[in-house]
């Protein structure tokens, strides 16, 4: 293998920077803001709907999450959510709808390899790290709280 020397690499990096287009940060930021905001607004409407029906806040939050997960999954299943994500970037990926998309899309993709080894196993290929490190961080945070402030 022909590996370039450090100086050749650095020279090449400078050349690359000349030709590499930078992502349109402002446009992406605005699109993310609009998309994320729109999804959050929908979530708020759903929440208001449940509260108006007399549900206490904790119940309403859970049901709202369920509805938003359903919406994200449904839009993924009909092939719409990836278009939203392409346009809105992080605005579509960050909300809970994005998490639903991250689980449903590999489930759809890998169904061809069977329900068990395909869909079942690969379903968490994208969202797995979120679950793992979310749970681990919660545990560590709770443990710290326990150690610092004792049992309440």
């Amino acid at each position: 293998m022909t590996q370039a020397s450090k100086s050749e690499q650095q020279k090449y990096e400078r050349l690359l920077k000349k030709h590499r287009p930078s992502p349109p940060v402002l446009r992406n930021a605005v699109a993310a803001f609009v998309t994320g905001g729109a999804i959050a607004a929908v979530g708020q409407l759903v929440m208001n709907f449940f509260r108006a029906r007399g549900l206490v806040p904790t119940e309403a939050v859970h049901l709202t999450s369920a509805v938003m997960i359903f919406l994200g999954s449904a839009l993924t299943a009909i092939g719409v959510y990836d278009l939203v994500g392409r346009w809105g970037g992080m605005g579509a990926a960050l909300p809970i709808t994005g998490f639903a998309n991250a689980v449903v899309s590999p489930a759809m993709e890998f169904k061809r390899e069977g329900f068990v080894l395909g869909l079942g196993a690969k379903m968490f290929a994208v969202a797995g790290p979120v679950i793992v490190f979310g749970v681990v961080t919660s545990f560590v945070a709770s443990l710290l709280r326990l150690l610092l402030w004792g049992v309440r």
Partner: protein, 359 residues
């Protein structure tokens, strides 16, 4: 030059004195490729990427089988007359090529050159025919947007945003039947690439990773053949696209070669970047395969181009190597093709050569 390999005229530049002929080509393209500038040139454009089959992988294999069968059909050559099939694709264990070959009774040499596979296959086919090891050799390759995405990147329905340096994997297949005699453009020389690594780790910028390999191979091919850029009507890389092409032009300029307007890239030719959302341009084995078999080959057949240098470019990495923090090495293979009936090669003309043995 040390050694006794008489057909080697450079470090890895080969001269095909027996002038293997590309007797027929076939191109089967996907719908996005059909909507591009070359849509009307392909032998067939499919309406969708699944072809009514059970998986994307099966569909890709179908694209490849159809291209291979069509090329043989055009030349009126039966598969029993074809001595070797040199083919590959992007998938693990090159399953598209494997399962295509399964449906054929042609001895099979599976190849992996990433997106440079078409050029690599043409070199293998040319060597087989020129060396007297084959009367007919098939060079073919395929790629498929969905099979590539699910292997290298994200599930297709996942809502990610791709940076502007990313490229779009072409869906389709191209095949070229190379023969020891017949009418058609001739493969006169080739240069086998060396793996070149400039420590590029950005998997979203393949062009940047492959440009040094393209520059290295093109320079070595020009040195080996003793030609200048002006001797070619077109020097076209496989898929350096919008970022890699100007980079390669700059690198070649530093080596003393000004390519000018005759330097183009299949990734930029295959799609209309203003209307199709392909970001930096096309990529995949089918990119150079479709553009060559569907378009450039015809220009050579009609005599509109006299001499072309096809430089397939490939990024030799995997999701595993990338996740382990490895850089992306590139490779480029150059194939020099002349129009039928062009002047015989002047600089290194040799008498019809059997390599010393009986054919």
């Amino acid at each position: 030059m040390a050694g006794t390999a008489r057909k080697r005229i450079g470090r890895s530049t080969l001269s095909f004195a027996n002038r293997p002929v590309i007797v027929a080509t076939a191109s089967v393209a996907g719908p996005d490729e059909g909507r591009g500038p070359l849509g009307a040139e392909f032998d067939e454009v499919k309406k969708d990427r699944l072809l009514g089959l059970g998986s994307w992988e099966k569909a890709e294999s179908q694209f490849l089988t159809e291209a291979i069968t069509m090329a043989m059909g055009k030349a009126k050559v039966d598969q029993s007359q074809v001595d070797v099939l040199a083919a590959g694709d992007l998938l693990n264990q090159i399953i598209s090529a494997d399962y295509s070959a399964r449906g054929l009774s042609i001895p099979f040499l599976g190849l992996y050159g990433a997106c440079s596979t078409m050029a690599e296959a043409l070199i293998v086919a040319a060597m087989a025919v020129d060396g007297g090891y084959a009367d007919y050799a098939l060079a073919a390759t395929s790629s498929h947007f969905d099979t590539a995405e699910r292997q290298f990147r994200y599930p297709v329905e996942h809502g990610t945003q791709r940076p502007p340096t990313t490229q779009w994997t072409a869906t389709g297949a191209g095949a070229a039947l190379v023969g020891s005699s017949g009418n058609g453009p001739v493969i006169t020389a080739a240069t086998i690439g060396m793996v070149i690594d400039y420590n590029q780790k950005n998997i979203n910028d393949m062009g940047g990773a492959m440009a040094p390999a393209a520059a290295d191979t093109i320079a070595r091919h020009l040195e080996g053949t003793g030609r200048r850029p002006e001797d070619y009507d077109l020097i076209v890389t496989g898929d350096l696209a919008a970022v890699g092409r100007p980079l390669a032009a700059d690198l070649l300029r530093e080596k003393g070669y000004e390519l000018g307007d005759r330097f183009d890239d299949c990734g930029l030719i295959l799609y209309d970047r203003r209307k199709q959302d392909v970001h930096a341009g096309g990529s995949g084995c089918a990119c150079s395969a479709l553009v060559y078999t569907g378009y450039i080959h015809k220009l050579l057949q009609r005599g509109q181009y006299r001499r072309v240098l096809l430089v397939g470019t490939g990024a030799l990495f995997s999701p595993t190597s990338s996740q382990q923090g490895e850089s992306i090495p590139g490779i480029a293979h150059a194939v020099e093709i002349e129009a039928a009936g062009s002047a015989t090669r002047d600089e290194d003309a040799a008498p019809r050569d059997t390599g010393g043995d009986e054919r």
